[in-house]
C-alpha cells in the first residue's frame, strides 16, 4: 500500500478516535463534564495522539531504514566476480535498483505481467523491454544483476507489506489502549500535555540533527576522498587540475587564495562604506534621514545573491573590461575576474556591516558622549577618540561575520570570478574559489565515487570549519562586548 494512503488511514483513525474518546469520557461521567478530571477534549486528544504519533513515527523510521537494510543485504549477496573491472559495488547496486524499478514500472504500465516479470531470464531482451517504458540502461543485464534485482523487488514488496501491517496494528493498538483508559478519573490532561512536550522537544532537536547531518555527510565523504587521494597533497599542492580521466591534481591552496583575495577586496569595499554609513546614521543623521536611508540601504541585503551574480557577470564585468581591458589599460583579459566578484560582493556586504555596526555604536552609553562633549571635544573627535575605541571589539566582530559571509558566498563567484584556479597577485585575473569549485565538481556528470567528485566534500568540510570558526569567534567577541555596557 502506498505510504500516502497509509498516512491518510492513520489520520482518519485519529480523527474518529478524537470523537469516540470524547464521547466515551462524557458517557463514563454520566454526561456531566464536571465529574471528569480533565476537559472532554483532552480525552479525545489522548486517543487521537495515541493512534497517530507512534504509527507515524514508525513510518518515518521504516522509510529511512528499509532501503539501508535491503541495500546491505543485497550488496552482500553480489559476488566479487559480478563486478566489472572498471566498476564499483555502488555502481552495480545502482544498476540493480534501476532494473528493479524498471520492472516495477513495466508491470504497472502493463508491458509485462507480474508473473512474467518474476520469471524473466537474462537473455538480452530486458534492456529493450525496459527501454520501452522509458528506463534507459547503460549496458545489458547480467544474470547476477537480474537475480539481485529480483531479490530487491521481493524484499521491497515484503517490506512494504510488513510496514502496512505493523503501522495499522500499531495505530489500532494505540487507539484501543487509549480508549480502554478513558474513564472519568483518568488524568487525560497530564498525559496529553506531557505527550505534546515530547513533540516540542523533538522539534527543537531538529537543529541538532541538521548539524549532525551536515557534519556526518561531510566527514564520511571526506574520509572516502582521503582514501583515494592523499591528504598531504590536498592541503599543500599548488595546482588544481581535475581531470575526469584520472591523474588529477587537487590542491586546495589556489582555491583558498582566490577565496581570500576576493573576500579581502569585498571587505575593502564594504568596511569603510558600511562603517562610515553606520557612524553617520547613528551620530549625525536626523530621525527623518535615518528613517529613509537605513531601510533603503538594507534593501541591498534583501536582494538574492543570484541577482548580484548576474550584475557582476553582465554589468560590472563588461564595465571593468572597458576600463582595464585591452582597449583601456590592458590589465584584464575577460570580464570575470577577482575584481568583478570582489566589488559586487562588497556592495552586497555594505548593509551587513552597516547595520551590525549601527547596533554596536548605539549600544555605547550616552554618558560617554556627554563626558567627551563636556571636555570640549567636537562630534568627530568624540566619535574617533571615544566611541570607536569603545565599540571596537564589536566592530571587529561585525567585520569577522562579514568575512565569513564573503568566504561562503557562492553565486557571485560562480558567475563573476571565472573558473580558472591560479595563484596570481593581479586582481584583474580570473580566479576561482572553494565554493565555485564545490558547485562545478558536483554538478557535472562525474561518478560520485571518483576523487574528482568527492573532493567537493573535502572542500565543503574546509569551508564549514573556516566559517564556523570565524562565526564562533565573532559571536564570542560581540557577546563579550555587549555585556560590558549592560
Amino acid at each position: 500500500m502506498p505510504v500516502f494512503w497509509l498516512v491518510l488511514i492513520v489520520g482518519a483513525m485519529a480523527l474518529i478516535g478524537y470523537g469516540l474518546g470524547r464521547a466515551r469520557a462524557l458517557k463514563s461521567a454520566g454526561g456531566d463534564s464536571r465529574v471528569l478530571h480533565s476537559l472532554p477534549s483532552f480525552y479525545g486528544a489522548n486517543v487521537a495522539l495515541s493512534a497517530l504519533v507512534p504509527a507515524l513515527g514508525l513510518v518515518l523510521v521504516w522509510l529511512i531504514a528499509q532501503p539501508l537494510v535491503i541495500n546491505a543485504s543485497i550488496s552482500g549477496d553480489i559476488p566479487q566476480s559480478a563486478i566489472p573491472e572498471s566498476s564499483t559495488l555502488s555502481l552495480v547496486m545502482s544498476d540493480v535498483r534501476r532494473v528493479a524499478d524498471g520492472l516495477d514500472l513495466a508491470v504497472s504500465q502493463g508491458v509485462l505481467s507480474a508473473d512474467a516479470a518474476k520469471t524473466l531470464s537474462a537473455d538480452g531482451t530486458i534492456r529493450d523491454t525496459l527501454g520501452a517504458v522509458g528506463v534507459a540502461l547503460g549496458s545489458d543485464v547480467t544474470p547476477e544483476i537480474l537475480s539481485a534485482a529480483q531479490t530487491y523487488r521481493t524484499m521491497n514488496a515484503a517490506g512494504s507489506w510488513m510496514l502496512t501491517a505493523l503501522v495499522l496494528a500499531l495505530a489500532f493498538g494505540g487507539f484501543v489502549f487509549a480508549m480502554s483508559r478513558t474513564k472519568a478519573e483518568f488524568r487525560a490532561r497530564n498525559v496529553v500535555e506531557s505527550g505534546i512536550r515530547v513533540l516540542l522537544v523533538a522539534a527543537a532537536s531538529i537543529a541538532i540533527l541538521t548539524t549532525l547531518g551536515i557534519v556526518l555527510s561531510l566527514i564520511f565523504n571526506t574520509i572516502e576522498f582521503f582514501k583515494l587521494y592523499p591528504a598531504s597533497e590536498f592541503f599543500t599542492s599548488l595546482t588544481w587540475a581535475p581531470s575526469f580521466g584520472g591523474g588529477s591534481e587537487l590542491g586546495i591552496l589556489p582555491l583558498l587564495w582566490g577565496t581570500l583575495y576576493i573576500s579581502i577586496i569585498a571587505l575593502l569595499v564594504a568596511v569603510p562604506i558600511g562603517l562610515f554609513a553606520a557612524i553617520y546614521l547613528s551620530e549625525y543623521a536626523s530621525p527623518a534621514v535615518r528613517g529613509v536611508a537605513k531601510p533603503l540601504i538594507e534593501i541591498l541585503a534583501g536582494i538574492p545573491t543570484i541577482v548580484y551574480g548576474l550584475f557582476a557577470l553582465l554589468t560590472v564585468g563588461p564595465l571593468l573590461l572597458q576600463v582595464f581591458g585591452d582597449e583601456g589599460l590592458g590589465w584584464m583579459q575577460a570580464g570575470t575576474a577577482v575584481m568583478t566578484a570582489g566589488l559586487v560582493m562588497g556592495v552586497m556586504l555594505i548593509p551587513f556591516v552597516s547595520s551590525l555596526s549601527d547596533d554596536i555604536i548605539n549600544a555605547v552609553p550616552q554618558a560617554m558622549r556627554d563626558g567627551s562633549y563636556g571636555l570640549g571635544a567636537t562630534k568627530s573627535e568624540t566619535i574617533r577618540q571615544v566611541i570607536l575605541p569603545a565599540a571596537l571589539p564589536g566592530i571587529v566582530g561585525a567585520i569577522l561575520l562579514a568575512a565569513s559571509r564573503a568566504i561562503g558566498e557562492t553565486m557571485i563567484v560562480v558567475l563573476g570570478a571565472g573558473a580558472a584556479a591560479r595563484l596570481s597577485m593581479n586582481p584583474f585575473d580570473a580566479m576561482t574559489t572553494v565554493t565555485a569549485k564545490i558547485v562545478s565538481q558536483l554538478t557535472g556528470d562525474a561518478d560520485f565515487a571518483s576523487p574528482e567528485a568527492l573532493v567537493a566534500f573535502a572542500l565543503g568540510m574546509t569551508l564549514f570549519v573556516i566559517t564556523l570558526g570565524l562565526n564562533i569567534f565573532a559571536l564570542y567577541i560581540v557577546r563579550k562586548y555587549r555585556e560590558q555596557y549592560e
Binding site: P67, R189, E193, R197, L200, V201, A203, A204, S205, I206, A207, I208, T210, T211, G213, I214, S217, L218, I273, G274, F276, A277, I279, Y280, L281, Y284, A293, I297, L300, G302, I303, P304, T305, I306, V307, G309, L310, F311, L314, T315, I350, P351, T378, S380, E381, S404, G408, T410, M411, V414, L415, I438, V439, L442, T443, A456, F457, L463, T467, L468
Partner: protein
C-alpha cells in the same frame, strides 16, 4: 601713591567671535568627517540605484516580444495527402511539413505589400521566423482539422535575431559571420516593421511559458520554474512553520537551563551562519545519495530550504514570544489554566502576527536562494513541461526561479541574458510583495505593551 603706570592690557590675540586657526582646523576636520559619512551613505544609495536601474533597463525587454503576422495557406496537398480528413493521417505530418507553408505565406505577404528586397526565395524567410512557428501552426491544424484548405492568419514568434534587432541588441555590423541572419534579412525586417507585418507586443508567454532549448530563446518562459518554486515554498511553509514554532515554544517557555538546551541554542545560532552551499551538500548527501529521493524534485529542494529557513523562523518566533508580557501568562495560570493551555490559548495567538512576519521573511529568503539548488540538480534541466498534478508537482524534476535565471545566464546566446534579467524582475516582484505583506502585518497587528 602708586606708580600706577598700568600698561593697558594687551588685547587678546584672537577674539572669541572669530575662530582661531586651531579651532578652524578642528571645525574643518569635523566637516570633513561628516562629509565622509554622507559620502558613504550616498555611495550605498548610488549602488542601489545602479543595481535597480540596470535590472530594469536590461530586463524590461523580456516582457516585449516581436511577432510576425503571417497568412498561411493550409495546403491540403501537403497536410492531408489522401484527402480523407482523418486526424491520424494529419498528425503524421511533422513540423518539417509545415515550415515551407509558413515561409511561402510570409514571402507572398512580402511581395503583396510591395517591399523591394533581394530575398525572393521562401527559404530566405526561414531566419525571420522562430523555429517554434511550425509547431504552433501544426498544433492549430491538429486542433482544427476542418481549416485545411483555408488561409488562416497567424501571429507567430519572430526569431530571436529579428527580435534582438528590433530591440537594439543585435547590431547590423555584428551579423557578418552570423549564419542565423544576414544584413539583407535585417533590411527586410525594417521594411516589414514599417509595413506593420512585424510588430512588438506584450509577451505573456514569458511569464507563463516553459523553458525552451538553447537555440530558441524567443520561446523561453519562466512559468514552469515559477511552479517549481511554488511547490518548494509549499514544502517549506508546511514544514518550517510548525516545526519552527514548536521548537521556539520549547526553548522560550519550557526549556530548563541545562547542557541540552545550550547545545540546541548554539546549534541554531551556528546554523543561521552556515553558508548556504553547505546545506546543498547536506541535501545531496542525505536526501539524494542516502535516502534516494528523486533528483531535481521540488520536494528535495523544499526540504533543503526548510532546514536553511528554520533558524531564521526560530529566531524571530522566539523574539515575538518574548515580547508577550508575563502578566498574560500569570493571569491564565491564575484562573487555573495549565502551562500548556496558557501558551497555546493566550501567548501564541498574541505572538502570531510576529511569527507570521518572521515566516514570510524567511520564505522570501528561501525563494531567492540558489546555491543549494545547484547541488541537488535543479539546473542543467530544461523545465519544459508543466507538472501533471499535485504529486508530480512535488516529485517530478523541475527548476526553480533563481535556478532558471542562473541557467539562462550560463547559456551562450545573449538573447538569454535579457530573459535572465526579466526573470529577476519577476523574482524581485515576488520578494517585494512578500516583504510588503510582512511590513503591513507588522504595522497592523503589532502591539506595544
Amino acid at each position: 601713591m602708586t606708580d600706577a603706570t598700568a600698561t593697558p592690557q594687551a588685547a587678546p590675540a584672537t577674539s572669541l567671535v572669530a575662530a582661531d586657526a586651531r579651532t578652524q582646523k578642528r571645525n574643518r576636520a569635523e566637516r570633513r568627517f561628516r562629509a565622509y559619512g554622507m559620502a558613504a551613505i550616498l555611495t550605498g544609495l548610488f549602488f542601489l540605484v545602479v543595481l535597480v536601474s540596470s535590472i530594469l533597463y536590461n530586463g524590461v525587454g523580456a516582457f516585449q516580444q516581436s511577432f510576425v503576422n503571417v497568412p498561411v495557406y493550409l495546403d491540403p496537398a501537403k497536410l492531408d495527402k489522401n484527402g480523407t480528413g482523418d486526424i491520424e493521417e494529419i498528425k503524421k505530418v511533422s513540423t518539417f511539413g509545415y515550415a515551407p507553408l509558413i515561409q511561402d505565406g510570409l514571402l507572398s505577404e512580402v511581395q503583396k505589400s510591395g517591399i523591394e528586397t533581394p530575398l525572393t526565395k521562401s527559404k530566405d524567410m526561414k531566419n525571420l521566423l522562430s523555429a517554434s512557428a511550425a509547431a504552433e501552426v501544426r498544433d492549430y491544424v491538429v486542433a482544427n482539422p476542418e481549416q485545411i484548405g483555408e488561409t488562416v492568419e497567424f501571429r507567430l514568434l519572430a526569431s530571436s535575431r529579428v527580435d534582438g534587432y528590433l530591440k537594439g541588441r543585435v547590431k547590423r555590423e555584428d551579423v557578418a559571420d552570423d549564419k542565423n541572419i544576414s544584413v539583407e534579412q535585417l533590411d527586410l525586417t525594417d521594411q516589414l516593421r514599417d509595413a506593420g507585418i512585424v510588430s512588438k507586443g506584450f509577451n505573456l508567454s514569458f511569464i507563463t511559458g516553459a523553458d525552451a532549448s538553447e537555440s530558441r530563446p524567443e520561446q523561453a518562459g519562466i512559468g514552469v520554474s515559477m511552479l517549481g518554486s511554488f511547490f518548494m515554498m509549499l514544502v517549506v511553509l508546511v514544514l518550517s512553520l510548525p516545526i519552527g514554532v514548536a521548537a521556539s515554544i520549547y526553548l522560550e517557555e519550557f526549556a530548563p537551563q541545562n547542557r541540552f538546551t545550550d547545545l540546541i541554542e548554539v546549534n541554531i545560532s551556528n546554523l543561521a551562519a552556515v553558508p548556504s552551499i553547505v546545506f546543498g551538500i547536506l541535501g545531496l548527501a542525505v536526501f539524494i545519495q542516502f535516502a534516494h529521493l528523486p533528483q531535481s524534485a521540488p520536494l528535495v529542494g523544499g526540504l533543503v530550504l526548510t532546514l536553511m529557513t528554520l533558524p531564521t523562523i526560530i529566531i524571530s518566533t522566539r523574539a515575538s514570544l518574548k515580547a508577550v508580557p508575563p502578566s498574560i501568562r500569570d493571569a491564565a495560570l491564575g484562573v487555573g489554566a495549565s502551562k500548556m493551555q496558557s501558551i497555546f490559548h493566550h501567548v501564541l495567538p498574541l505572538a502570531m502576527p510576529g511569527i507570521l512576519t518572521g515566516t514570510i521573511i524567511g520564505l522570501a529568503q528561501a525563494l531567492g536562494e540558489t546555491a543549494p539548488l545547484l547541488l541537488i540538480g535543479m539546473v542543467g534541466y530544461i523545465a519544459s513541461n508543466y507538472p501533471d498534478g499535485f504529486a508530480s508537482g512535488f516529485l517530478d524534476p523541475n527548476s526553480a526561479m533563481p535556478a532558471q535565471i542562473y541557467e539562462w545566464a550560463k547559456r551562450a546566446d545573449p538573447a538569454y541574458y535579457e530573459r535572465a534579467w526579466g526573470g529577476i524582475i519577476i523574482l524581485l516582484v515576488f520578494l517585494l510583495t512578500m516583504n510588503a505583506i510582512a511590513i503591513i502585518l507588522r504595522r497592523r497587528f503589532e502591539r506595544r505593551w
